[in-house]
């Protein structure tokens, strides 16, 4: 990262903005702040940030609306902050195009890790060389020849298992909701059948992970969806 990346914080609470800015500057990032939704949109358009941290409860509207507007013209990664109980608003934000979420209160270390992961993901996606080989742990996936090996030995996956895995790889580091995964892998008619997804994910973990009940790579976002760990 030669030039410092720019991060836009859209958050109405000054005290939170203050420590988030400090945490990001500690990472060597340039920080732009906005206190309202309209201000946030203007900043996002003019500063062209590399990442946006977006609070959902803004004084002039719901952050999800900003996200929907933004996704019309930008693919910049967005991390959402939520202070609500329940998972509904997080799922809504992820379905609307957010890449990750944090529930308040969160620790600085957690925030920095998420920001790093999203920036790296974005950089590699925009980078010229897109490798057809994807690695995590002892597993190597050849996306060109559609083969999977573990510790060098070929690993047999069924068609659906492979499709599930390749979907997660395509969005590695991003949280994918149940809806998004079911739609991608099974098709729009199966959006409500979350138990298909859960059963297949268990199968996949048993083949790919060292310990299926303490997964290292195929992570569960409880009540929301799954993610393939970035590192």
């Amino acid at each position: 990262m030669g030039i410092a990346s720019t991060v836009l914080i859209v958050e109405d609470d000054v005290a939170i903005r203050r420590f988030v800015r400090a945490a990001l500057e500690e990472e060597g990032l340039q920080v732009v702040e906005a206190g309202t939704m309209s201000r946030g949109l203007i900043e996002a358009a003019t500063r062209q940030p590399d990442l946006i941290i977006l609070d959902l409860g803004l004084p002039d509207g719901n952050g999800i609306n900003l996200l929907k507007d933004l996704r019309g013209w930008a693919s910049v990664p967005v991390i959402v902050l939520s202070a609500r109980v329940g998972e509904t608003d997080k799922i809504q934000a992820l379905d609307a195009g957010a890449d990750d979420y944090l529930t308040k209160p969160f620790s600085i270390g957690e925030l920095q890790a998420r920001v790093r992961a999203q920036l790296r993901r974005h950089a590699s996606r925009n980078g010229a060389v897109q490798s057809s080989l994807e690695r995590f742990g002892a597993v190597e996936v050849d996306l060109l020849n559609r083969t999977v090996t573990r510790n060098g030995a070929p690993l047999h996956l069924t068609k659906l298992e492979y499709r599930l895995l390749s979907t997660l790889i395509a969005h590695r580091g991003k949280v994918l909701t149940h809806r998004q995964l079911l739609n991608e892998v099974w098709g729009p008619a199966y959006i409500e059948h979350t138990h298909y997804l859960r059963i297949y994910m268990t199968h996949l973990r048993q083949k790919v992970e060292d310990n299926a009940s303490q997964p290292r790579w195929l992570l569960t976002e409880t009540g929301i969806g799954y993610r393939l760990a970035a590192e």
């Binding site: 988030v20 109980v85 209160p105 859960r198 973990r205």
Partner: protein, 874 residues
């Protein structure tokens, strides 16, 4: 939420079903004295010896010693005494039997007629109620008491039996045991005085107990029982072959004669049973019959209905077309007739309209009927006024004898005939015609004052006058009767129409009662009262002032059984009021009690039908109002739920935002001080830890509030246990670093059906608890397996274990094992676990392990697993 949540719970459905129907065992004999009562009591004794609760409800031993001996040791219900016309009658106490609820009740003499004042006129109706209440009944009857064989038996034996039992009781009995004795043996028993006391026995031997009679009766009984066995076998075979019992569309229609011949009805019922076909009985009301005929036909229709027929009164002018329509609509193929005069014209037209219809002429047995002659109920006034008018015309015409042509004088008489027809009906018109001819001839036709006629042409005048008088009278009278009937029907239709319009607008239950009362009062002069169930136990209360003479016990019975009672029904017909249940599609909504100025009116077909229609309308309206209430209540609940939810969301937001700022900024400060090597960095670190503690506490409190406030809505999904455990371990993160965690999940453990977020929270709390109360480096084990139709999840530690004694309070909010413990937390964790477990209908238990440490066990119900019903690996 999946479909399974909306499906009703089968156990709850089963519990709401009424108790299973009791079984009826019939002891069936050919004649009195064959030993039915003895056999019945012998079996009762056997059952009692086998430990069953057997009670004798009614047995008459007729002084037979052997039978009386059989009674010893059996509990007997006391008999009810009923006063009737100065003599005391014994009666079977139905209510005592229902209250006693034995496993088996012995009630002898099934065809017996009850004493007046009992709930049902017949004992078999008592037995029906006992069976409906789930009590097994033993009872006995003879072949001559079978309704459909009643006429045959009386023809064979010459003795008329008045007490009968409808055939369906016999057919639907669960078991029929034939008690058989050859005629010679029976006669021997009779002679030996074992059947009747000697003086009665002698009379009986001369009449009923002739050998020929006994052989015929025995044959009848055996044949009837063989029929029953035969149809059972056929039904059984049909069930095994999975084909319907009666595949053909065969149906029988009986055209009931004006004299309502009961023989014909019984013959038809037998025929229909033999053909296993449905049968209908119809009466064509051409508007020319008077009331006495109506009564007879009503009685005949009632008998037909008891014998299983669909009954109907059709009225209209074109009989053949009515019949043809009915036959077509109900797919009937056989028309049975029983007419004194062969209805040639009707049959010819019918043959043309429905060529595929078979016609059966029932034979009329040459039998002495003791039917009452028709009583003509014409008002006397009509007769003498007719006579008076004829005389008056004669007096007026006499002075004009020379002035007017006799042809014109005849016209005056015709006027009188027509008047009588219009005013008083058919018969007075005929009288007027005959009188007019007589008076005209005697006074006005020369030679006067004699019936002799000088000019022959007057004979034509007489004949024409007589014919005109009779025909006009007949025409006018039948016209008037049709008009009356049409008017009555029109009035009834109008009542129903207006009532349904009013009830459609009703918004309160009181309005239903008020509108029903108003229309029934204006239409029939009836006074009514609505009884409505109130409260949880459906206590019945009248809506208005109770009608005088209302019996709340009958109201209760009517409500519980969903059947009409009182005047004009088979249940307590002596009551002056009619009790109609308000039956709506979902349940009985109340009871309509009716009182008419003349109670007999309630037996009338049209009135009764009107009342039933009104009751049905009221019931539907009450049900509609009930569901409006339910919908409004649901809307209110939803609104309250929404408000609670948004309140919690706001609270959560307002608490978490400053907490985030607090912990975030302290953490930043701590890092800065640490980097600068400041001595204050430890103090700030402490501050940060306390901030995090408050944050955890707030999260727990908010969660508890969310779980306890209002009804929790679970988002149930199918979860693999591995994912649940994995999610919980991931959520705990660093909190478990000091412990060794071992997971042991059965390889093919079934899926859990539950809310993923809440169940993870439960597991997180249990594991966190285990980590909190055991030292670092010790082992925490999570095990899961399917056991005895449940999924059992255990979290065990090697810590200090649970405090001794009762541990139920562990799961209460704000309680902790050791009050003064140094371990942080306010004891909400386990309370949250318990609440979540309860919402999943799961059990959460805690125990100390023998090797030390505590074990928490969550037992979840194991449900039918979902299927993966998509094209595999497409």
């Amino acid at each position: 939420m999946t479909d399974d949540d909306r499906r009703p719970d089968p156990d709850a459905l089963l519990a709401s079903l009424p108790p299973a129907r009791g079984r009826l065992k019939l002891f069936f004999g050919a004649a009195p004295g064959v030993g039915k009562t003895y056999a019945m009591l012998a079996e009762a004794q056997e059952k009692r010896a086998a430990g069953l609760d057997v009670v004798v409800g009614w047995v008459d031993t007729h002084g037979r010693a052997e039978t009386e001996a059989m009674l010893s040791g059996l509990e007997q219900l006391p008999r009810l005494k009923r006063e009737h016309r100065d003599c005391e009658l014994d009666a079977f106490d139905l209510d005592a039997a229902l209250a006693r609820r034995p496993a088996i009740l012995v009630v002898d003499e099934l065809p017996h007629s009850n004493a007046p004042g009992c709930r049902h006129p017949k004992r078999w109706q008592d037995v029906e109620e006992l069976l409906a209440a789930g009590i097994d009944v033993y009872s006995a009857m003879n072949v001559q008491h079978l309704d459909s064989l009643n006429d045959v038996v009386s023809r064979v034996t010459g003795v008329v039996v008045s007490e009968t039992v409808p055939d369906h009781v016999f057919d639907q009995a669960d078991e029929v045991r034939l008690v058989d004795l050859p005629p010679d043996d029976l006669l021997q028993r009779l002679a030996a005085g074992k059947v009747y006391l000697p003086e009665v026995a002698q009379r009986a031997a001369a009449n009923f107990f002739r050998k020929g009679n006994l052989i015929a009766l025995r044959e009848l009984a055996l044949r009837r029982l063989a029929d029953r066995v035969d149809s059972q076998i056929r039904a059984q075979r049909a069930i095994q072959d999975h084909t319907p019992v009666s595949g053909s569309n065969f149906g029988l229609l009986l055209l009931i004669d004006d004299d309502g011949n009961e023989d014909a009805i019984r013959q038809c019922a037998r025929l229909a049973r033999a053909l296993e076909a449905p049968w209908h009985a119809i009466w064509l009301d051409d508007g020319r019959q008077h009331d006495a005929v109506h009564d007879q036909v009503q009685a005949a229709l009632k008998l037909a209905a008891e014998q299983g027929a669909v009954t109907l009164v059709q009225s209209g002018r074109d009989n053949a077309r009515l019949l043809a329509d009915y036959v077509r609509r109900h797919n009937l193929s056989l028309l049975a007739l029983h007419r004194q005069s062969y209805p040639t014209r009707l049959l010819r037209t019918l043959k043309r309209q429905v060529p595929e219809l078979h016609v059966l002429l029932l034979a009329s047995p040459d039998r002495h009927t003791d039917r009452k002659p028709l009583r003509l109920g014409w008002p006397l006034r009509g007769w003498w006024q007719t006579v008076l008018l004829c005389l008056l015309v004669t007096v007026v015409a006499l002075p004009l004898r020379g002035l007017l042509e006799p042809a014109n004088q005849v016209m005056l008489y015709l006027l009188v005939v027509l008047w009588s027809a219009v005013r008083y009906g058919r018969a007075p018109a005929a009288l007027a015609a005959v009188l007019a001819v007589g008076l005209f001839d005697f006074f006005l036709v020369p030679p006067y004052l004699t019936f002799a006629v000088s000019d022959v042409q007057y004979l034509i005048t007489f004949a024409v006058m007589l014919v005109v008088g009779l025909v006009a009278g007949q025409l006018v009278a039948s016209q008037r009767q049709s008009a009356d009937m049409a008017q009555q029907r029109e009035a009834h239709t109008r009542i129903l129409f207006e009532l349904s319009r009013d009830l459609g607008q009703a918004l309160l239950e009181e309005q239903v009662g008020e509108a029903t009362a108003r229309y029934l009062h204006s239409g029939l002069g009836a006074r009514i009262d609505l009884w409505r169930p109130v409260g949880e136990d459906d206590h019945l209360q009248p809506q208005q002032q109770s009608l005088p003479g209302t019996d709340s016990a009958i109201v209760r019975w009517c409500f519980d059984h969903g059947e009409a009672a009182g005047q004009g029904t088979t249940t307590l017909p002596n009551s002056p009021l009619l009790y109609l249940p308000l039956k709506a599609p979902m349940r009985t909504r109340g009871v309509l009690v009716l009182s008419l100025p003349q109670p007999a009116q309630l037996s009338d077909f049209a009135t009764r039908r009107l009342c039933e229609a009104v009751a049905a309308l009221a019931a539907q309206t009450l049900e509609r109002l009930h569901y409006i209430d339910v919908a409004q209540q649901t809307l209110l609940n939803m609104e309250a739920e929404r408000m609670r939810h948004s309140l919690l969301a706001a609270l959560s937001h307002d608490l978490r935002t400053p907490l985030t700022a607090l912990t975030g900024n302290t953490e930043t400060l701590a890092r800065k001080l640490q980097r600068a090597g400041s001595p204050f960095s430890d103090d700030v670190l402490l501050l940060q830890q306390q901030g995090q503690r408050i944050a955890r506490l707030v999260t727990n409190l908010l969660e508890m509030a969310q779980l306890q406030v209002g009804s929790m809505t679970l988002k149930k999904e199918w979860l693999p246990v591995e994912e649940l455990v994995g999610g919980a371990i991931a959520a705990l993160g660093g909190a478990l670093d000091g412990h060794i965690l071992r997971t042991d999940i059965e390889p093919d453990c079934p899926l859990i059906h539950g809310d993923p977020v809440l169940l993870e929270r439960l597991l997180v709390n249990l594991v966190e608890n285990a980590a909190k109360y055991s030292r670092a480096g010790s082992e925490i084990r999570i095990r899961c397996a399917g056991e005895n139709g449940c999924i059992v999840l255990r979290v065990a530690d090697q810590g200090v274990g649970l405090p001794p004694g009762d541990i139920g309070w562990l799961f209460h909010a704000f309680s902790r094992g050791n009050r003064e413990s140094s371990v942080s937390g306010v004891g909400l964790g386990l309370a949250i676990c318990r609440t979540i477990a309860d919402a999943h209908e799961a059990r959460l238990e805690a125990e100390n392990l023998p090797g030390g440490g505590a074990c928490f066990t969550l037992t979840l119900p194991l449900l039918a697993q979902p299927s993966l019903d998509f094209p595999q690996e497409n």
